[in-house]
Each structure stands twice: as C-alpha cells, then as structure tokens.
Subunit: 890 residues, 2 copies
C-alpha cells in the first residue's frame, strides 16, 4: 500500500528533511524539526504524489487516502488530548501547501479550520477568551470562503465595515464578543446568499475542502507564472500540511514571528527577524502592521522605537536562540524560520533554507566555509551563478548629489532608476517598449509578479523586510525599497506624494535597495567592487573549474572590463562591429558600392590601417591571451546608407551617383538575410575582403610583438571546401606579411559551427579547422527554424502553453541543438584529436548551458563581459557536478 500520509509531532516523525520531493519543503522540515526534538505542533503531511495522482486522475484521490488521513488525525488527537469537531475539546488545524521548492505567497492557506458554532463555543471555554474564539471563527469563515469557496473577501469586509459604522467604532479591536458572534451570523448568511448553500459546518468537510483548494491552487494562474519564472517543473506537485493550530493572538503573552539565522540582505552572521505580539503569522508578512525587531541589535540598527522580543519575552527569546542555532548547525545553511508563541510557549512552524541576496549568498557561503561548517566545494555550489548579475552592475555613485525624497527598508540591494508606474500591467507594457520603470505599490501581491519582473525596481509604501515585495524582489535580483511609509499613493489619479514632493506617473526616480533611499531623478552610478568575499569565492571557483572562460568583445573598453572580470581570452571579436564606426562606414560603403574588384580593393585599402589599429589595441589589452577574430559575417546590405544624407555622403566619397547607390541597395536586399549572402559566402565571392582583414590581423601581430595569440575564425561554414579555400588564402596573406616582416608568428585558423550541416560534417571540416567555435545563436535559429528577431509572436505563447520550457535563445536547447553540438564535438575530435572547442553564442553566459558545455568536454565558453564571473562560477559548479556524476558512475 502506498503511504500517502506522513505524521509528525511529539518528538517523532515518519518523514525527514531528505524527503523534500515527497513531502514538500515545509512538510519535510516540520518532520525534521520534530526529530530534532524541537517544539512543533503535531500534524501530518499529504504527499506530493497525491497531487500528481490527483491531476493524472481527473482530480480524484486514491481510495486509500481517506483512511490514512483519518488515522493521522487520530494520532494528532491522541497527542494533544483534543478531538477534531469535538464541542468540548476541539482540535483546530491549519491547512497549508508545501511544494518541493519554496513558493512564497503563491499557495493558499486556511487557519483555524475545524471551527463551527459548537467548537467555537468549546474554544471560548478552553481558552478562557471568548472574544478571541469568535474573532478566530469569523476570520476562519472569511478565509475559508475566500480560498476554498472562492467568495471574494470584500463581501465580508463590507459587512465588517457596516457593523463598525452601526456601532460607531473605528478599530476591529473595539468589537465585543457579541459583535463578533453577530458578524459570524451575518457572514454565514452572506455565504448562503451568494452561493445558494450554507457554509460547511462539518469540520471534516471543511478539511477536505481546504485540501482540495491547496491542490487546486497548484494550477492557478499565479502559481503557473511563478513556476515559470523560477524554473519549477509542473509535475513536482505540492504537498498539503495539516497541522494543529497554535495561537499567537490569544493575548499579550502570545506572539508570532519570522526570522533568519543570518542577515539575508548582507549575509552578516547576525540573528535577524521580526515579530508581532498578539498576532497571527500572516500579520507579519502581510505588511499590515509594521513588525518589530526580535533582537535588541536589530532594533538599534533599524532605529526603531518599538520594543524587541529580546526585551518583551526574554525566556522565549532564549529558547528561540537555542532553536535557531541548532537548526543552522543541523542544516548547515542559513535558515528562514517561522514561529508562534502561545502563552509564553515557543512553537516552531517552519524552517527552510532562507532566500538571500547575491552578496549575502556569497558572504554566507564563504564564511560558513571558513567556519568549517561546509567545504569550499559546498560553498561554490551554494551561490546561484545567475544571481551574480546583481553584483556586477553599477551602483549609485556615493558622491553624486541626491535629493532623497523618502526612505524605506533596504529590502533588496542594488540601485535602479526609472519612470514611475503604478500597476503591474503598466510595468509590463513599458518593458515591452524597452522603457525603464519603477513599480510603485502600496504593497505587492502575487498578482503583481509579472510587473515586478518587468520593472527595474520595486518601491512599496507598506511591508517589512520579509514582506512579499522584499522576498520576491530578492529572488529576482531586483532592487527593492519596501515600507517607505512617507509615500502617499493616489492610485486613481496616478500620482503620489513623498513628503512634500509631488510625483506623477512617468516621473523619473531612483531607488537604492541597499540603503532604502528613494531619490528624485536619475542618479549616476559607479562600477561594482569585486574584491572581498566575491573575489575569494571566485578564486575557489577558478581552482576547481576545468572550462576556460573567454569573452565576446571587440572594443578596448569591453576587452578591459572582461579582463577585470577574469576573462581568459576573447572568444568572439566581431570585426563587423568595427565597421560601423562613423569614420569608417563611408569607406565600407564605398567598398560595397564598388563596381569591381579594383574598386573594392581601393576602398578596402582605406579600411586596412583602421582594422590593424583595432587589432593592435585588443592584442595589447589581452596580453598574450587567445583572441578569436571572426572575419566579416553579416550581409553587406546592413552597411548600406539609408537616409538621403548618408547616400549623398557615400555618393561623394565613392564618386558614384545616388541612383546607383539606391539600385545597389535594392539589389542587395534579401528575403531572409539571416540565410543569405553573408559569412564566408562573402569571403568566397569577394575574397579581397577577407584578405584585407587577414592582412590587418597579421600586420597587427607583427606590430604588437611576441605576446599575441591570434585565432582567425571563418563564419557560416557549411562545406569543408569553403574553409579549405579561405584557409589557403589567409595562409598566403600570412606568409606574405611574415616574409616582409622577416619573422614568423603562430596563429590558428578555425571555424564557427553554426549551421546543422557544419555540425554533421564536422569530421571533414576539422581537416582544415584547428578549432571550432559553436555559434549557438545561429545554430539555434537554423536547427529550430526560428528567426530570433521574429520569434516574440510565438515564443511567448509557446512558453505560456508549456510547449517549450525555456526560450531557446536564452538557454541552449540541449535536446535539439545539443544533439548537433555533441555530434560535431565527437566527429571533430575523431579527425583532429586536439581540436580546440568553444562556444560563443549568448548561451556561453547561461549557467545551464555552461553545464552542458562542461559535460560534453568543451575547452571554453565565451560570453559578454558582465557574464564572465557568472560563467566562471557556473563552470566550477559544472566541474563539481561532473566529478560527482563520475563518482556515481564508477
């Protein structure tokens, strides 16, 4: 019999932390905490397999499930001496989701489940606090109706508002037991009225309703969006946790809180958290009341005047400290914990590896390794390479004059400027138009995620460091300032006021997520500091990685930046980018418009010295590291003049009349330029172009001296003969230049593998090619038959419909394109054992794709300068993963 249900509680658990896939993160960790002897309210977990079974069987459960749930419930009742649905000693439970990966705010929760008219009375008696009991009851009805019965909560808020008006009161706390009892009646009438059936009185019916709602929410639109953004496969499913209620809102000796064992923003080794007295858990994260610091240190740092838990509940605080230390030591990672204090007793509701910013991830990993808690290898694995992006981009220049108009919490580090928008929809629209915006909200909710993704940064008026906005922004690596309470938002009129400053939609502001500052206008930025923990971790990474990391660069600035970021050479220097320079474009156009070889050669002679100078500069910067230079690749018409003025300019320089220029432009026009007369096809049909480029390279080599490693790359090869012919021509130029200079110099000639045919014929191409560089952009375009420029209209729907899991231009399509690469690697090496293999498409900076490159044994990846550190770390992780895989295989 399949075990669908796992019990925990009372120092014992059927599950454990390793069973995350089955029990979800929350369930596994609740079980683990029980086994560690920590105080956890008893309960049980319905496994993720139930979810999968549910969706595979037309939303039905396996017949065994009910029996197992009943048995688990009986265990809880026994442990607590309470009974589910019992009027005297009622057991109340929470029902929560718990997927394998944490999905904050995405799944629905029901608290206080088990309450009805009879059990509410029992709770009133047992707790000695009837007001609390009936407040819990009316909250339960609202929550259950919203989440399970899909009856929007505004119905109940209206009734509450009406009641308060009738009573002439303003605060919920002014409601009496009788008022609350009356609200319960009115709430239930509303349910009957809206749904045509009564609110379920049976606790069992309530429980199964809630379980079904959790499973249902797995396929809600917002859950689907989150999974897509976070790369969570749909078939993982969610578990359901049914747990006995503990109450942080029974009185002043009760509290609820969340905490991190280290600072999730900076990584500093400091206990860090927030709590609220007399509150339920949701109150802290919902951002409705501003939470207080748990520690005195935290209180001091935040400048808050509200008392810390350390002061208010000292003994419970001491218990909490022991618990968090035990948890961090046990899990060997920074923990994000949730707890409730019920009548001075600490109950642990959750522990999980805490989300953190990139700098925090690095600091925690490096410090834990130094503390001996984890190994250096483990530290390398702990940091998500993609998250480094946040560290590598500029931050605000501290010397710049800043007009600070508001201050909030530094919820997610980094700085961003943009125009104000007030809705997620507007943010998304602006992003589609390439406009930079800051999303300004009172607080955020899961419905805003797509807008947060589209914005440069997020600014909220309410909520703490653990609010939805803060947690999600940190996960996304977006700057966020939360709880900027001075901010008054007039949503309707699309404006807001920050102190005395009036702002409207479209006004430019800057936020600094590392300080919490909100600044008027755009602020200049400075380059990030890459020393300290970052440098140390990168050093460790470099020590284990096998893949070399190069950069795609053609300007001296890019080359220097990449060197600073640790690039070990240039993997792609696109010579055509050098042609667009204002000075040169005229000569380039002259070349294209020339009637014959003689005319082309005359124009090329003008370009030669400029190209030579480019190469001299780059060779000098790269100090003997390999530099792969790709000869001219794009179709010639890309260089043609467009405006009348441009045409006149060229007409003068080239001594060609305008009509001829226009006609030539028409003649060069192509239906599908991506598949047109470009790449080495230009080299074959206009050999003088590649000859000039080769000459510029070799003359630069001679000029710069010995410390140069040029690799000449021929693009768009589809046939071995193309390469053979062009290699012969380049060799001839080299011989001529070297003879004239009286000295020789080593160089390599190789090719891009960017057409399926080239991959398939790699064995023959390798006869001439000394290296292959996989041009995965074009290889993806041709293998999938997708023009990148035209793909938006269907790639988005394809992602939404789950036809493809990732944009193939972002993450390498291993299943398709990957097959061709593997074929080419195998066949290339068969012909030339020591052939150098690298990748220079955009995928060279994508961690998953880097893993692929490492797995198939490439020599290097090449990516844009800012992605170099990401690639270095990803390459190290790939090397570790391959080592583990090999060990397992052995």
């Amino acid at each position: 019999m399949v075990q669908w249900v796992y019990s925990f509680g009372d120092g014992f658990a059927e599950g454990k932390a390793e069973m995350k896939n089955l029990l979800g993160g929350k369930g596994a960790n609740l079980a683990e905490m029980c086994s560690l002897g920590l105080p956890v309210p008893p309960g049980f977990t319905i496994t993720t397999e139930v979810c999968t079974h549910y969706y595979q069987n037309g939303k039905t459960y396996h017949p065994d499930l009910k029996k197992q749930v009943d048995a688990a419930l009986a265990k809880m009742e026994k442990a607590l001496g309470l009974k589910f649905g019992d009027a005297k000693n009622p057991l109340l439970v929470s029902v929560r989701s718990g997927a394998r990966a944490s999905m904050p705010g995405m799944m629905d929760t029901v608290l206080n489940l088990g309450l009805n008219d009879a059990t509410a009375e029992g709770l009133a008696k047992n707790s000695g606090n009837p007001r609390f009991a009936y407040d819990s009851y009316r909250r339960f009805i609202q929550m259950y109706s919203d989440v399970v019965l899909e009856l929007d909560h505004y119905h109940f808020e209206e009734i509450l508002e009406l009641k308060k008006n009738e009573l002439g009161i303003k605060l919920d706390t002014q409601l009496t037991e009788a008022d609350l009892k009356d609200l319960v009646v009115r709430y239930k009438e509303k349910v009957q009225e809206e749904l045509g059936s009564p609110f379920p009185e049976s606790p069992e019916e309530q429980m199964w309703g809630a379980i079904g709602a959790v499973f249902g929410s797995w396929m809600s639109a917002r859950a689907i969006t989150y999974r897509k953004l976070q790369d969570i496969p749909e078939n993982w499913g969610t578990a359901v946790n049914v747990q006995s209620m503990v109450f942080g809102n029974m009185g002043e000796d009760c509290a609820t809180g969340v905490a991190f064992t280290r600072d999730p923003s900076t990584g500093e080794k400091i206990f860090f958290g927030e709590y609220l007295v007399n509150a339920q858990g949701e109150d802290v994260v919902a951002g409705i009341r501003t939470p207080q610091s748990i520690t005195l240190e935290g209180k001091k740092r935040s400048g808050s005047k509200l008392p810390a838990m350390e002061e208010v509940l000292p003994p419970v605080y001491q218990d909490l400290v022991k618990v968090y230390q035990k948890l961090e030591a046990h899990y060997k990672d920074m923990q994000d914990i949730e707890f409730t204090v019920q009548k001075n007793k600490l109950w642990m509701l959750q522990t999980r590896n805490g989300k953190r910013t990139a700098p925090a991830a690095i600091r925690i990993a490096v410090e834990m390794a130094k503390e001996g808690l984890i190994t250096k290898e483990e530290a390398i694995k702990r940091v998500d390479p993609a998250s480094l992006d946040q560290l590598l981009h500029p931050t605000l220049d501290p010397k710049a004059t800043k007009k600070i108009i508001a201050k909030g919490l530094p919820a997610s580090p980094g700085a961003a400027s943009g125009k104000i928008v007030f809705t997620a929809e507007d943010a998304e629209k602006a992003a589609a138009e390439n406009k930079k915006v800051i999303l300004v909200r009172l607080e955020t909710s899961p419905e805003d995620i797509h807008g947060m993704h589209a914005a440069q940064g997020i600014l909220t008026a309410r909520g703490g460091m653990t609010s939805h906005a803060a947690v999600v922004a940190r996960g996304m690596g977006k700057p966020c300032v939360s709880g900027a309470s001075e901010l008054q938002i007039d949503f309707k009129n699309r404006k807001c006021k920050a102190g005395s400053t009036e702002l409207k939609e479209g006004d430019l502001i800057t936020i600094n997520g590392s300080t919490g500052e909100v600044i008027l206008g755009e602020v200049p930025t400075i380059q990030p500091n890459l020393s300290g923990d970052f440098a140390e971790l990168m050093e460790w990474a470099d020590a284990v990685r096998i893949l070399k990391v190069r950069t795609n660069a053609e300007t001296p600035l890019d080359a220097s930046t990449a060197r600073k970021f640790g690039a070990e050479g240039i993997g792609l220097c696109r010579t055509e980018h050098m042609f667009f320079d204002a000075e040169r474009i005229i000569a380039v156009r002259e070349m294209i418009l020339a009637k014959d070889v003689t005319g082309r050669k005359a124009a090329l002679a003008k370009i030669l010295p400029m190209q030579r100078k480019d190469f001299e500069e780059i060779f000098t910067i790269m100090k003997g590291l390999p530099v792969t230079i790709r000869l001219l690749d794009p179709p010639l018409h890309e260089f043609l003049p467009h405006t009348q003025a441009e045409m006149e300019e060229v007409s003068k320089a080239a001594k060609v009349d305008i009509e001829t220029i226009k006609q030539r432009a028409i003649a060069l026009k192509e239906e599908n330029p991506m598949l047109g007369h470009r790449g080495c096809r230009l080299g074959i049909t206009y050999p003088e172009i590649y000859e000039m480029q080769a000459r510029a390279i070799f003359e630069a080599v001679i000029a710069v001296g010995d410390n140069v490693l040029p690799e000449i790359m021929i693009p768009l090869v589809m046939h071995p003969k193309e390469l053979e012919i062009l290699k012969a021509k380049i060799d001839a130029v080299a011989e001529e230049v070297f003879k004239k200079a009286g000295k020789k110099h080593a160089y390599l000639i190789g090719t891009m593998i960017e057409l399926p045919r080239a991959a398939l014929l790699a064995d023959k191409i390798a006869e001439s090619a000394e290296f292959f560089s996989f041009g995965t952009n074009d290889l993806t375009q041709t293998t999938l038959g997708i023009s990148r420029d035209d793909s938006t209209n269907f790639i988005q729907p394809y992602l939404e419909q789950g036809i493809i899991e990732k944009d193939p231009f972002v993450q390498l399509d291993e299943e398709g394109v990957g097959q061709l690469i593997e074929i080419a690697v195998e066949r290339g090496r068969k012909t030339r054992k020591d052939i150098k293999l690298g990748i220079c498409g955009e995928h060279g900076g994508n961690p998953a794709s880097i893993h692929f490159c490492a797995r198939i044994g490439m020599d290097y990846v090449s990516c844009s300068p800012f992605r170099v550190p990401i690639a270095r770390l990803a390459a190290a992780q790939a090397a570790l993963a391959n080592k583990t895989a090999k060990k397992k295989a052995a």
Copy 2:
C-alpha cells in the same frame, strides 16, 4: 609496372569494351572492334590514369610512359610496314582524346601527325597523289598550330585567302601542288614569326605535343562547363588515342561518314547515316559541306538529290552493313559509328552507344527488349528519366495556322517558341530575366553551350543531323532545327532574313525540332501523347519499382494531369494556394486583420464552405487514393493587401479602416519570414484557422463518401508537443463532424519533417505522427542555412568554383540533409514501425534524389504532375539498382 599504354590493331587488342574507365569510351571500343575482327587502323591508347597522374603530379608523366609509348608505336610500325618519321614509308597518326563518357566536340584532335618536309614527300610518293600529301601537310600545320601551339587558325586562313587572291582563284580545290607547298612554307614562317620558334619538324616532338594538348584540353573552360552540365566528375580524366591515319580524302574512291544503327531521332530500326566522298572525317560533322545519305531509303526520306553511298560505293556499303549489324548485336545497343573509306577499303574509326532523343531512347529500349536483344529490366535502365521531360511537354498544335518561313533539318524533336537572340551571351542574359529565346546561329560550337542551355531552342543555318548543334541539343533535350540554309544572318546588325521575311533580334519565332519547320510568331501547342512505347515502358517500370509516386497538387487540373501521368495519390496539397483565389483572398484578409478570435472566426466561417468544396473536388478526382493535405503554412503577411485598391477592398469587407490595415501589415512584417511566424506556429497561436481547415476536410470526407483517404499534415513542427496539441484539436473536430454525420471515417495525422530539430527528435514526434513527409526544400534551407530566394548570388559562384557539385535545391544534398533524413527515418521507425514515409520537396522529382529515397526505404515520393513519369522511371531504376546492390552484398 603499371601498364599506361594499351595497343590495338590487326585483329588483336590489349584492351576491351569493359575497360572504358581506363581506356576511355573511344579507346575501349576501338580495342573491342579489333577483337571482333573489324577493320580498325592500328594504334594505341594512353590510359585515363595517365591523365590523373599528370594532374596530380604538376603536369608531369610517369617515367615509364615514354618506354611504353615507344613500344606501342613499334608495334604499329610493324603491323603496317611503315615507320614513324621515315622519309620513305612514313607512318602518320591521329591523336584524339577519349574520355569515359562521350563529350562531342569538347576535346581537341590532331590529324596527319608525323608530317614534315621529308615525310610529306614520302607520303606524296607512296600515295601517288602529291597534291593530297601537301594539302594534308598544310592542314596538319594549321590544326597542330591551333590545337597544340595555341596559334589561332585565322592566321592561316588569312594566308590562304591571300594566296587565293594572288592566284585569282576562289576554291581551295583549285590550288595546285606547288601552291600548297608554298602555303606550307608560309605557314611555317607564320609560326616562327608569331611564336619565335620554328614549327616542330620532329614527329616525336609533334606526338608528345599533341598528347599534352589532349590532357590540357581536359581542363579547358569549355570542357569544365560541359562536364558540369553533363555531370561528369573531373577525376575521371581522359585517355589519348594514337592511331594510324587512314584517308577518306585521297580521291573519289575514298569517303568518310558517320552513321547510327537506328534512327537517333525517332528510334526507328533503320540504318541511318551521312557520308561525303573524298573528305576527311571532320568535314561531315563540321557542317561545312552538306553531307549525303548513306542509304537509298535515307535519301528518299530526306528528299535529297545527292547520291547515296549505297549507290556510289555498293561493295563498301555492303561491308558497312555487316559491320553495323555485328556491332549492334555485340553491344546490344544502338551504335554511333564513324568510318573512313580509303581507296575502296572500309576502316572503322569509332563505335559508341549513340546519343538519342527521349522518344528514340524509349522506342529503341522497348523494341530491343521485344526483339530479345535485351531484357525488360535492361530496357528500363536504358532510358534517362530526366529526358522524359521532353515527351511530357506540349507539342505544336497541328491544326494551328502556321506561317512557315524556313525549313531545316529536324535535328532535335520538340517545339519551342521564343524571341530571337543571336549570341549565347544574349541567350544567357535573357534566361536570367526569365525570357524565352531561340538561339539563332550560323552553326554552333562548344563555346555556345551555355547559350544553348539557356535558350528554349536552337536554330542553325548550317550543319546536318550530326552537327554540333544537333548532337548537343538532343543531349540537352532541347528542340533544334539545323541547316536551315534559307536563313541569311546579318550578325552585325542583329537581324536575319528567312526567304522574304525579315526578322530582327527580339522577334518571336517558333521552331519545330520534329519537322525542321521555322515558323513566324508563337504557335499554340497540344498535350503529348503518352501511349505506345512510352506507356509500355512505364508499365514495365511500374512492375519493378517499390517506391510509390504521388504528386504535389491542389487544383483539380493539376490533380487530373497527375492522375493521367500515373500519380498514385497526392503527397502535398498546399491549402494556402487555395487562399489566393480572387474571391477568397478578401475573406482571408479579413481573417488576418481581425482584432480577436471572434473576428477571425467570423471570417473563417466564410472561407469554410469554399475550402470544403476544394477538398470535395480533389477527393473525387483522386478516387480513394491517399491525399495529403498540408494545413496553412506561410506567414500571414503573405496574404496582406499591397496596393491601395486592395487595401480599400479589404477595408470595406472587414469594416476596418485603411490605417489599421497598413499598421497590421507593418506589425506582421518579418526580418526572416522563412524562419518566422508560420507553419504550425500559426496553428498554435491561432487554433481557429487549423480547426476551420480540419472541419472543411472532414465535412468534405463525409460529403464525398467512402472512397477517400485523407492524410492531414502539420507543417514546420520542431517540437513533439506542437503536434500533440494540434492533433488533439483536429481529432476533436473529426469527432464532432463524424458525430453530427452519424458515421466515422478513417484518416491519418502526420507531419512535415522540414527542420533539423524535427529530424533529430523524430522518435518523439513519431509518438503522435502517423506519417512523416520530408519537406526537403525547407530542410535544405535550414540545414545549409541558405534562403533559396537569396541564393543565386553565391550558389552560382559556388558551382563554378567547384565548392558544391549540384544546386542543393535541385538535387538533394545527401551528405548533409541526407544524414538528417536518415536519422529521422531510423528514429521514426523505432517509435512507430509502420510509419508512412515520403518526400514532398522539389527533390521528389529529381532522379538522383529518388534513388536516395529508394535506398533509405521511403514509401513514396511526391513531385509536380509533369515529373510523375520521371519519378516512376527513376523509382524503377532505383529498385533495380538496389536489387543489384543487395545481390552484390549477399
């Protein structure tokens, strides 16, 4: 020791017919004729391996060659009692090329080699005809100078003209022995003057010079062009035949001629040839003198008044008849023979399988099979499938009024109309502009081949049925009228006169190559007759072939034509072609311009009945044969209105303002539409389009009844899920339609394999696909990264530079695209053993590509209606070839 030289003559030969690859066609057949006991002037063949060795070793010979040539020469001398270079009994030789495949007119020949002042005198004495001897000598100097020393013949013609003017004579025949001797002196002076060195007196030097010239001519531009057109690999090389001279020009008891053992134009079993008395062989084919018929029957049929050889030289004629019958019986094929009569003795100079027209090839093959000379299988192999093209296209309507302005020889059958051009260059230029032209020449030469290729037909004023123009045109399958002597061409002024009719460049004429008529203007044509020998051969072919042959058709006309040509189904019915109909395009445009699904559905509802009617018609015509219908494939913008008028039309019909239409057109514009939002990507993003098409198909199925076999094809699939999703939608429509109709009907759903990724993932795609149809046009475009529309600028230079051997859009690139197809076939079958496999790209009608399809075990090929018979025959040949290959392997 390698044998580089093979002797023959005197009833003995070292070689034989099977050694064609080594000895070339001519050499192998000379050897074979010797072995058959036929009268062949003794000689020897230098093998093709010498040619290959020559080009692989910097144009040098193997050291053994000279020894072997000397020995062979000694054998000739012994056989004839003559001596090379001897003043008394000089041996004279011809030096001729002889490649593996016949290349008429392409290779250079030197006759009378061995003559110098001393041997000429010897020849004069021995022949008793000094005039003949010195005429031969001066001809030899001119020919040798032209071919070997590269001194143009006009130098000598000038001298000759001058001499005749000095003498006041008009004809060469009026020159005396003394005049000719003087010419020899002047010719030699000219050589000394032009080249700075004397004409070689040494016969040995002459011979080696001529041998070198033959090898040199293998790489001449015209030879390279011919090889490209005729698919002859460069590395085959040519042999050199050195043979003792026999003379047809020694007097009135001498003659020379060429003949075919059957009529090469019709295939009729009749001995057919031309000869000239007192002439050298080249005179017949050069077209300078109009040759006479060999047989009386031939004389009668041509209406000639010149005496037949049968009358003039009856005993020699009888010898010739015995020889030709022996040769045909021996070679079991129609022979093209060359002979010379020297003083009433017949000498055979050549035999080879004769070139023939397509109707002749079929008739000869079928009749020979019926005669029991060859098997039916052999008959099938004898006909070049590509040549059938000539038979399948319309001929002149015999009832049409025709203004015949000239009459020539029916040199190559078929009819063609076009504008007059007078040079090969103009013909080529016109073809590039898609203009139809008739190339009009005095006579043609190898330099004209590219122009003949470009023209619709060829008309010459001079030359017989075996002239260059006639032979080459038949090989190309182009209509040709030769020797239309009424034609007076004023080349300089680009006009000509046919009798009283004045014609100028650009005037329309029609030629009928089957009758020799030249007609003013364009003449209506009629469909070809496909019965008789053709039908019989096709029946035999159908009996042996395994591949099915379908057609690409979407109109009732195309479908009927294809059925008549033997199509066994439709392999590709392109539904979008049905959308361009004038009535429909408005509704289609309305659909594209619709703002939302509702609007699109409304427009689609208008298209539905029209699509259903299309399918009903086609299903009816195809009478239960399978019909593969491809759902909408091209990008939507292809259907958008372009002109203002079209836009207004749509604007009215769709109730959308013009501005919106223009904006939508801009929005739909793509950078690379070939790789854009098309194919099943439309089906995924606008499911209502495919749903409408599926509905039209299924409703048509119901309407037509039981005798229907629909196969629904999804284009441009790159991911298994695309097909899975669309299949489900189509199945749902089928279920709905069938439910409503109250009856079910079988259908298949499959996919195009036209992207590399689809080929690579064929195993997964085959989970949903019931058939694969290889869309080799797009698969070639993506695998090679070549846009067919943009390829002309580099495909032509690639062919010229020998980078690729064939245009990959004409003949399947087996090395690249073929690999992907083989992968897909293997993986597709792995998942679904009985998956139906076919090809529907242009390659489906290309014989070489059909062989590939047969070899890898496809089920069918599909091609345009007119290519169906070609495909049937090619498929039969492929089946026979595979049978042979299997036998060999066993």
